[in-house]
Amino acid sequence: MSSEMDNFIGLSAVLTGFSHNLLAPPLDPVDIKAEYLPFFKRKIAQESGDPNLAGQIFQKYSALHAQGLTPQQIGAAMLDPSNGEDFVLACRKLIFMWYSGAWPTLIPAAGSTPASTVSDMISAKSYTASLVWQVMQSHPMGDSNYRYGYWAKAPAPLSDYTGN
């Protein structure tokens, strides 16, 4: 795993609350991270107009991590408004991407129409790999790895799904 990927996964673990191993298992045939990282970098550069923004985010995370801060402290520092609007928005979109498998677009309020968010699914794989299903202790609609009759049994504890 590259240093950039290390930082991407480390930051993602902090911001989503999922364990590093769950986001990037040592044996990872699904490998959604390999899809997310280049997608995230491209979209952030496009939307902010700053090709270096993703790199700055990873550098900031890396520096905070090196200080031995807790995940909560790192998360708070990454989302601090003093980082700048684009920086914080990119971090929030990173959370959205992992949880929904989609990329959000913010539409500002116009006249009497309130602000809203629309999103586009990144891929079929991102739909099934999105973390929201794990938080629900459930499975994507149309894609279940559970065995026949699972609905009659209690799901595994939430900690088994999040790794924390």
Partner: protein, 451 residues
């Protein structure tokens, strides 16, 4: 998976290389790269043995997805070699011979038990292991006392027994038609461990399954106790003759049976035919892989790969000269294996065989040729092996399979691809298997055949 002992030769080499790391950065990088490579590169000539491996042998000190895929693929080839070893009359491997010798004699897996002879009408108790079972009544015109050794009973025209029935339609499955316009035939067989579990627990009948009323848990192979666990074999066959030269196939004889119960218009018939092997699945439950290990092999002439130029003048299931043939599409209904001729299927492989698997195939072909220069087994290749990357997952009972999708062009011809819940994945599909009571049946649909 079994990690090699600490003091294995491979580990000694690794330790030596690690010591080099203290000398310079470059020697460190070179040493680790050199260490990684042997985990993927196959050995020059694998040893051919009649021993069915009981567990995967992990060769890398730092296993990766790629290195483990290689280890599982080796496990598949070792299993293929052992199962296709010439057999004694009791089904044990004939250790006086090697694979490829006595090519007309039965091989080890042919002593396994056909599913047709386990799940009998009325839930009757199957005959004991080793006892021959009578063929379907329509075959009575054939002298059962003089059948060639190892004669199969090919009663299926699909991987599932009801392929001609509409219940198979949602999965877009269907019969596979060979280049002679004949239906490909299939069989499913279980080894003694699996058969014994079914019989001991009376899972061969609906009544028995109701009394059992629990999740099935077939025996696993265990490398520590040296116990062979459950193995399923699924095979696909074409009739020899016409465009199929018996010299290029592993052949045997089979009572080829057309089942009138599958679709109106099918007339019962039974013919003794010489058939050639075109597809070979192995499902093997091991201690470390409770989701089973799924190995699949094909005849090398079966199909071209989509997007790649055809390299052969003729394929078993593809006509390079046909410009308007619909690819990977089941034949139009009505289906009837008794028809004299049906337009051949046009099949392409959707997911290419990886370069690593091709390299391993070449390695095993060299070993097979070294043992028997004209071995018929040179005509068979591993497509891939599907295995659980996280067998103990608490949230995914499939164990997160790798690769995510796997299909045999003869057994999953029309459901190849990479779309979840639609394309073929051995473990994702078999994870849904249940017995007639609705209890999970441990990755086999066979228990649903109970009456």
């Amino acid at each position: 998976m079994t990690i090699e002992p600490l003091c294995s030769a491979a580990q000694r080499k690794y330790i030596a290389r690690a010591l080099l790391c203290s000398l310079s950065f470059f020697s460190c990088a070179q040493a680790l790269m050199a260490q990684d490579k042997p985990a993927i590169a196959p050995p020059p000539l694998p040893v051919l043995t009649p021993q069915i491996p009981l567990e995967i042998s992990v060769t890398g000190s730092k296993p990766t997805l790629a290195s483990l895929q290689y280890d599982f693929d080796v496990f598949s080839w070792q299993s293929f070699i052992a199962l296709n070893w010439p057999a004694n009359s009791d089904g044990t491997p004939n250790t006086n011979l090697t694979i490829g010798q006595a090519p007309n004699d039965p091989v080890v897996w042919q002593s396994y038990r056909e599913s047709r002879s386990i799940f009998l009408a009325g839930g009757a108790t199957p005959a004991p292991w080793g006892e021959d079972t009578p063929p379907p009544p329509v075959c009575r015109n054939i002298d059962a006392g003089h059948l060639p050794p190892g004669t199969l009973r090919l009663t299926q025209v699909g991987k599932t027994p009801n392929v001609l029935d509409e219940s198979g339609e949602p999965f877009k499955t269907g019969p596979l038609i060979d280049q002679n316009g004949q239906y490909t035939r299939f069989s499913i067989m279980t080894n003694q461990s699996m058969f014994n579990y079914i019989v001991t627990n009376k899972l061969y009948s609906k009544a028995g399954q109701q009394a059992f009323n629990a999740d099935a848990n077939f025996p696993s192979s265990n490398a520590t106790s040296q116990q062979l666990g459950s193995i399923m074999i699924k095979t696909a066959w074409v009739k020899m003759g016409g465009k199929y030269d018996p010299a290029k196939f592993y052949t045997t004889y089979a009572l080829v049976y057309d089942n009138p119960e599958e679709e109106p218009g099918v007339k019962p018939s039974c013919v003794l035919e010489q058939v050639g092997l075109v597809g070979f699945h192995i499902g093997h439950k091991t201690q470390d892989e409770p989701q089973w290990v799924w190995s699949t092999f094909e005849h090398v002439d079966n199909v071209p790969t989509k997007g790649h130029a055809s390299t052969l003048a003729a394929y078993n299931f593809f006509d390079p000269h046909c410009k308007n043939c619909k690819v990977n599409d089941p034949p139009p209904r009505p289906w009837n294996p008794g028809n004299r001729y049906t337009k051949p299927s046009q099949v392409e492989r959707i997911i290419p065989i990886t370069a690593e698997a091709q390299q391993l195939n070449e390695s095993y072909h060299q070993a097979l040729a070294a043992a028997v220069p004209d071995s018929v087994w040179l005509n068979y290749e591993l497509v891939s092996t599907q295995w659980p990357t996280d067998a103990k997952s608490k949230t995914d009972p499939t164990g997160v399979p790798a690769p995510s999708f796997l299909a045999n062009a003869t057994l999953e011809s029309y459901i190849q691809g990479q779309v979840k819940q639609t394309s073929s994945s051995c473990m994702a599909c078999h994870n849904n298997a249940a017995s007639t009571t609705g209890n999970p049946s441990d990755f086999t649909y066979l228990l649903q055949r109970a009456q």
